[in-house]
């Protein structure tokens, strides 16, 4: 098992796209904090910014593009054609001949992804919170450690969500479009919460309750419940993905 995890780490970190996800995901949040600094300072001075305890943690969300990219390419890189000469040939053939026990392989892939994203999230959270501290000093009280851990967990679960969807769709386009649009341009899940309160239990909305307090969510969900809701989504989608991966011809 350790062998397979090592191989999956080498595979993931050997992909240029993975580094796009790592760099983008790690830098976006701190950069946004910097760009927003003049505006936020004025808002604090004017007393219009009321949710200062969430400063920093809130800005982490923009970096989620990183874990989404990482989660998707762990799977999609297996299915992309390896060249024009052999359009049907994919890395998956090499992967499965090297590791034919599919569930063990998936366990190794999942572990490698979790390790990489957790490290990325920890670094990003540390950078963003330190920056917030430097910029706003006493206006930005350090969040409780449990909330920081919850934010890291949110990143890991988001990566696993992208990974599970890619496992089901067997390509990167669907989950990338869905999750990147949803986390950056227009949050469809957020709009849905305006239509029905049930949408509050969609994985990305519920998950955010784990570490953000003062948001205008229609339904209040306790942090632990929120974590459980998002975990349930991820586990359910992963189970479907794993069953399909186990059954399908490669």
């Amino acid at each position: 098992m350790v062998r397979l995890i090592r191989a999956e780490l080498r595979k993931l970190l050997g992909l240029p796209t993975a580094w796009v996800g790592l760099v983008l995901g790690t830098l976006m949040a701190p950069v946004v904090v910097l760009l927003n600094a003049p505006y936020t300072r004025r808002a604090i001075a004017a007393g219009t910014l009321t949710d200062t305890p969430d400063l920093g943690l809130r800005d982490l969300g923009i970096g989620l593009i990183g874990p989404v990219i990482l989660g998707v390419i762990v799977v999609s890189s297996e299915y992309t054609s390896t060249g024009e000469d052999a359009p049907g040939a994919r890395q998956l053939t090499a992967t499965l001949t090297a590791a034919p026990d599919r569930l063990r392989l998936l366990a190794a892939k999942t572990t490698a992804l979790v390790l990489v994203v957790a490290a990325q999230a920890a670094i990003t959270a540390a950078a963003t919170l330190t920056l917030t501290k430097v910029l706003y000093a006493e206006h930005a009280p350090a969040p409780a450690p449990t909330r920081v851990v919850a934010a890291i967990l949110y990143w890991v679960l988001t990566a696993l969500l992208a990974y599970a969807i890619a496992l089901i769709t067997r390509n990167g386009i669907v989950p990338l479009t869905l999750l990147i649009l949803n986390s950056t341009v227009v949050s469809v899940s957020y709009l849905l919460t305006k239509v029905t309160d049930l949408a509050a239990y969609l994985p990305d909305i519920a998950g955010a309750h784990m570490f953000i307090r003062s948001a205008d969510f229609p339904v209040e969900i306790a942090p632990v419940t929120a974590g459980l809701v998002m975990t349930a989504w991820v586990v359910a989608l992963l189970a479907v993905g794993a069953v399909l991966f186990h059954r399908r011809d490669a």
């Binding site: 090592r6 191989a7 999956e8 052999a86």
Partner: protein, 237 residues
Amino acid sequence: MITIDRVSKTKGRTQILYDVTFEARPGQVTGFLGPNGAGKTSTLRILLGLDRPQRGTALVCGRPYRELDRPLTTVGALLDGSGAHRARTARAHLRWVAASNGLPDSRVDEVLEVVGLTGDALKRAGRFSLGMSRRLGLATALLGDPEVLVLDEPVNGLDPAGIRWMREFLRDSAEQGRTVLLSSHLMGELAEIADDVIVIDKGRIVIQGRLADVIGDHRTLEDAFFALTATEAGGAW
């Protein structure tokens, strides 16, 4: 030793393999011959645990491929393409494959040397020519120094020097006691290197045996093949 026993496979509504049964023995080059679409690749994919048959068993050294713990130390496989993601260098590809089976990184340089890709080790697989891709695929197959080699159309895309090299390589492998199973639609090519021949057509094995016995009274393996499969010479092939 490879044992394929009554393997049948249906894809969608079409049955593509009917009770395929044969053996490939150690120390022999076994040629798996048939036209494109006859079921060669499907059989090899089932043997390697990539696809599942509806019925029958495919064993390598007495065990299903999926149950092998470090499969690359038992079986080396070369299928379509190199298996390397196009953004990866040859070296990076071989390094993760080596890690997955607990093989030392030093094996990577050794197999690159064997297939003559040492100078291209840091080139991305997406920039490889067809011939180089085949060599990289073969390097991957050799990483674990396996006792069984399974190769699907190994000479496809190779230049004459590459074909000659591959032929000698496979002969040497068999002489060292390895089991070598290779598929091909090139009858002349197979007649050059195979000890045993298995002929498949439309998903069914039509004949198998020693090369000389399969050729029988016919002039060449090609004549024997067309006589056995009753395919018009010059027809769709």
